[in-house]
């Protein structure tokens, strides 16, 4: 009898949103509460890994056709880019700036370059995590 994964797949379909939301939440809440780019990235990466476990390499790759090495690379570029960015403004390397911006609809928001930096961290973590799992998974 073939394995029927219907229960698992159905539950994961529902649960994955909780995980993704949590990941995004952790990513943004890091500055004032536990979390941050790294842990957010890990959770998001775990969600993707969960998909890979529940389904399989081919299926997931069809639905998410990313080269995760490049996702990771993009993350590093983002993180280092914000760092280098401060040089262009003649501030010490890695200087973070923040400010309150009035954005239409969303209202006044506190934005900081740390967020971009953290986004880079998160992307790297996601990319690396998935790259590692996939590379090993594909090595049969």
């Amino acid at each position: 009898m073939k394995i029927n994964d219907v229960i698992l797949r159905t539950v994961v379909k529902g649960v994955i949103f909780i995980i993704l939301t949590l990941g995004v939440y952790l990513f943004f809440s890091g500055h004032n509460a536990p979390g941050g780019g790294f842990i957010g990235g890990l959770v998001l990466g775990s969600a993707i890994v969960l998909l890979y476990i529940t389904y399989d390499l081919e299926t997931v790759h069809k639905k998410m056709p990313f080269d995760f090495k490049k996702v990771a690379a993009l993350g590093v570029l983002l993180a280092t880019g914000t760092a280098v960015g401060s040089i262009l403004f003649d501030a010490p390397f890695l200087s973070q700036t923040d400010g309150y911006f009035n954005i239409p609809i969303l209202g006044e928001k506190h934005l900081t370059t740390v967020t971009i930096f953290e986004a880079g961290v998160a992307l790297t973590v996601i990319g690396t995590l998935v790259t590692i799992i996939l590379s090993i998974g594909e090595d049969e």
Partner: protein, 134 residues
Amino acid sequence: MLNVKEILEWIAVLSVLLASIISMISAFGMIRLPDVYTRSHAATKSSTMAVLACLSGAFIYFWVHDGYVSVRLILGIVFVFITAPVSGHLVTRAAYRARVPLAEGSGDDALKPVLFGDEQTSPTITADNVDKHE
């Protein structure tokens, strides 16, 4: 005098205590029960119930004590609630497919003919060679 707040806090604390006791018993069951399938009952049911009781207790406590409604706790409760049975299902399925035998003295086995029907002898796999065949 106990006011409502105090009572609720006590309910929270006691539900935590209850949870811990159930959990302990459930863990004891994990030791005592004869095979992985029966143990999975203890795990998916008692333990899940314990953790839900405990989290509910915590939820109530934070709500009453700090006026803090923790969405995260609710999410946690929901999550555990949904996933606990799935875990039980998957593990027992895996166990069976990995030919972990039922405990001695078990009754009917409706699955055996379907999965291993073509095999003459019943799967006589001991715990040891399950480990080996990892």
